[in-house]
């Protein structure tokens, strides 16, 4: 235990001075969420609260269901043939699986960044402006430009691309592409930002830049990040949930999970014995 504490404690991002997670209101609330892909159950009775304006990390070995759960939040599982979700996920108390809620509106409120950078094969400008445009958030070119510039600035990409906004986004480096995708996602001013292993395809330097960015973004967004890397979870998140074999094993303050896990499975995973 001591070794573990030494390994991660220094990395854990502390919450703001004098503030604990319990001071953050609950933004997302999941109760007894189960997911089936056809006959196969991928997720078992997951219940968790996601705090507002903080980073929540989902960790666990491959195939543990963390990405599956993440995709339930903005209903991206709807697009998978044969996927079935039961249970309740509430965003600000509103069930996202409610029939009266339009999935298009939900996804405008819950943005997503994917594992592999996936910019549209269009210009950098069009990439960022697309979301605001389809949601009617900008009415003219000047407004679009304002959103594009501010989003790119927030994603820390503006300085690098300001002279080539009208060149294809696919011409950027991997790390830049991922920041472009983050800029694209935050351009629609989502309330929640889901990130599905956003750094797994990037080199360590690009990863560090994005981690720093995530830390800044948490001031304004509720962020849920899925990651393979425990170090990353320790570095960027305030809350951590550990998944294993489709079950949520343990959740809590990141500092607690890494220094003082309650369950043996969590401990084993953090020590590198499973996974």
């Amino acid at each position: 235990m001591d070794m573990m504490a030494g390994k991660f404690a220094a990395n854990v991002t502390p919450l703001e001075e004098g503030m604990s997670l319990s001071d953050h209101p609950i933004r997302l609330e999941a109760r007894d969420v189960c997911v089936h892909y056809g006959a196969k159950q991928a997720l078992y009775d997951v219940s968790i609260d996601i705090p507002d304006r903080a980073v929540t990390a989902f960790i666990g070995p491959s195939g543990c269901g963390k990405s599956t759960f993440l995709r339930c939040i903005n209903r991206m599982n709807d697009t998978i043939e044969g996927a079935r979700v039961t249970g309740r996920i509430a965003l600000d108390g509103e069930d996202v699986y409610d029939r009266s809620l339009d999935v298009v509106e939900l996804r405008a409120r819950v943005g997503m960044v994917f594992q592999k950078p996936n910019p549209f094969p269009k210009s950098i400008f069009e990439n960022v402006a697309y979301g605001p445009k389809i949601h009617g958030m900008v009415r003219n070119k000047a407004e679009a430009e304002e959103v594009v510039v501010s989003s790119l600035k927030r994603a820390g990409l503006f300085e690098e691309v300001k002279d080539r906004l009208h060149e294809p986004g696919t011409g950027l480096s991997g790390g830049q592409q991922q920041r472009l995708c983050i800029a694209r996602a935050i351009a629609t001013r989502p309330e929640v930002l889901l990130m599905d292993e956003p750094c797994s395809a990037l080199d360590p330097i690009a990863t560090a830049i994005i981690e720093e960015l995530i830390d800044e973004l948490r001031e304004n967004f509720t962020i849920v990040i899925v990651t393979h890397s425990m170090q990353q979870a320790a570095r960027v998140s305030q809350k951590t949930a550990f998944f294993h074999l489709g079950k949520l094993i343990e959740e809590g303050d990141t500092a607690n999970i890494f220094t003082n896990p309650a369950k043996k499975q969590t401990q084993d995973y953090i020590m590198g014995r499973i996974g």
């Binding site: 991206m76 298009v104 996804r107 405008a108 943005g111 389809i134």
Partner: protein
């Protein structure tokens, strides 16, 4: 095991393994060389065959683009053209009245013995003392040319009593004789032309009265059986264009829309599986069956006209649809899922995802599919025969509802013409026109594709 344990000293097992690999290397390289050789041989064979085809078509077809012309001096003999003066519109005469009078006069002109005029012109052109009978003299010139003289006269009645140089088409048989497409050593009884005509043709060619000129009329004239030398492709060309237009206007939107619906929106269940299987089957249905369907449905049931490009176009549309649907679906399927997720994740609706993101990247693929389908339809003959487009039609269709031929049907007609010696070259010329049209279509596709891909 650590790396240092497999240091520089090689064990016997390692040595044996390497020996085994080396022993198999020769065989593996040989297999590769054989496979490469077979590939090269296949490509060379294919190229050689295509080259032979082109060489045969072009070498046979190019003589058809020049034709023997006879420069004659035509005397509009008032004794032969014994007609009233052309009517002049009198003051106060009604339109209908004048038209009727004019038509009556034109009929009179038509009934004049124009053959005698042509015969006289040929005699005048013949060297002094050349004996030739009327039939032999007339056989030199294409029969349709007398109508041209009549038209010249109607257009300008002042020609009466004048001598005018007129360039006339030599008859198909004269053309054969001069080009040598008929055996010049055949005995008289087996020759198409009399000895007098043959001798005259040779002499006129020598003194320059007969010369070979580019045969523009292949492109501007319609088919002709009575005057084969003047037969052209214009009617068939326009018929084919109408059909292509119908195919592009119907098959492309319907095919692309079906493919998008089936691929992006339709639920995956037994019904859509059934539809998919059936579309694949339709693509394999012999084209003649589509012709029968067209005859039964469009002509028999809906009462559309026979031999009309509208029916041909509809039949070819049915035939092209599966090709376009299948190719469009496969290019939609090739779009990476990450692009769809990116759009959906931003809150784009499915329709927005398809039209803003998926369709633009598949456009080059759809375009290729379209061109392949249209090119296939352009060359299709069998269904056209069933719906009567192999009929002899001597007019350019004004609308797709008029009777018309089509380029492949015209090729079929010409290759079966009884005047083989003349129409063999004509057929190859028609094939060249059809191939040129297809190559042009393909070139357009390549250009468009390049532009779209550069933009993407």
């Amino acid at each position: 095991m650590t790396i240092s344990s497999s240091g520089p000293s090689t064990s016997a097992a390692d040595e044996a393994k390497r020996a085994r690999i080396r022993a198999s290397l020769a065989r593996r390289h040989l297999t590769e060389r054989i496979f490469k050789g077979l590939g090269v041989a296949a490509v060379v064979t294919a190229l050689a065959l295509v080259g032979t085809l082109f060489w045969m078509v072009i070498s046979k077809g190019y003589p058809a683009f020049t034709q023997a012309n006879v420069a004659l001096e035509v005397y509009f003999d008032p004794e032969i053209i014994d007609v009233d003066a052309a009517p002049v519109r009198a003051a106060g005469q009604s339109d209908a009245d004048f038209r009727a009078q004019n038509l009556a006069w034109q009929r009179q002109v038509t009934l004049a013995n124009w053959n005698a005029i042509v015969e006289q012109a040929v005699r005048d052109a013949a060297p002094a003392g050349f004996e030739i009978d009327a039939r032999s003299a007339l056989a030199l010139v294409e029969t349709g040319e007398r109508h041209r003289l009549r038209d010249l006269f109607v257009a300008n009645p002042a020609l009466l009593g004048q001598r005018v140089p007129v360039e006339m088409l030599a008859s198909a048989n004269t053309d054969n004789w001069l080009k040598g497409t008929i055996n010049r050593d055949l005995e008289d009884s087996r020759q198409q032309l009399s000895a007098q005509t043959r001798a005259l043709a040779d002499q006129l060619l020598e003194n320059g009265t007969i010369s070979f000129k580019f045969a523009w009329h292949i492109f501007t004239n319609v088919d002709s059986r009575s005057a084969p030398a003047s037969a052209g492709l214009a009617g068939a060309f326009v018929g084919s264009l109408y059909m292509m237009l119908i195919v592009i206007l119907l098959a492309v939107p319907i095919g692309v829309a079906s493919a998008i619906y089936l691929e992006e929106f339709a639920p995956k269940n037994r019904w859509t599986d059934l539809i998919e299987v059936n579309i694949n089957n339709l693509a394999a249905v012999p084209s003649i069956v589509f012709g029968l369907l067209g005859a039964a449905a469009f002509i028999q049931y809906f009462g559309l006209p026979r031999s009309a490009p509208i029916v041909g176009g509809l039949v070819l549309t049915l035939m092209t649809l599966p090709t376009i649907i299948i190719a469009t679906r496969s290019s939609l399927r090739a779009v990476p899922p990450s692009l769809r997720q990116a759009a959906l994740g931003l809150g784009a609706s499915k329709t927005q995802m398809v039209f803003h993101h998926v369709l633009p990247v598949t456009l080059p693929g759809i375009l290729t599919a379209t061109i392949i389908g249209v090119a296939q339809a352009l060359g299709e003959t069998a269904p056209l025969l069933i719906i009567g487009m192999n009929a002899f039609v001597a007019s350019i269709p004004a609308t797709p509802f008029d009777q018309a031929s089509a380029l492949p049907a015209q090729i079929y007609l010409w290759q079966g013409n009884e005047n083989r010696n003349f129409f063999e070259a004509r057929t190859s010329a028609a094939i060249m026109v059809l191939l040129a049209l297809m190559l042009a279509l393909n070139a357009i596709a390549v250009l468009l594709r390049r532009r779209l891909e550069r933009r993407g």
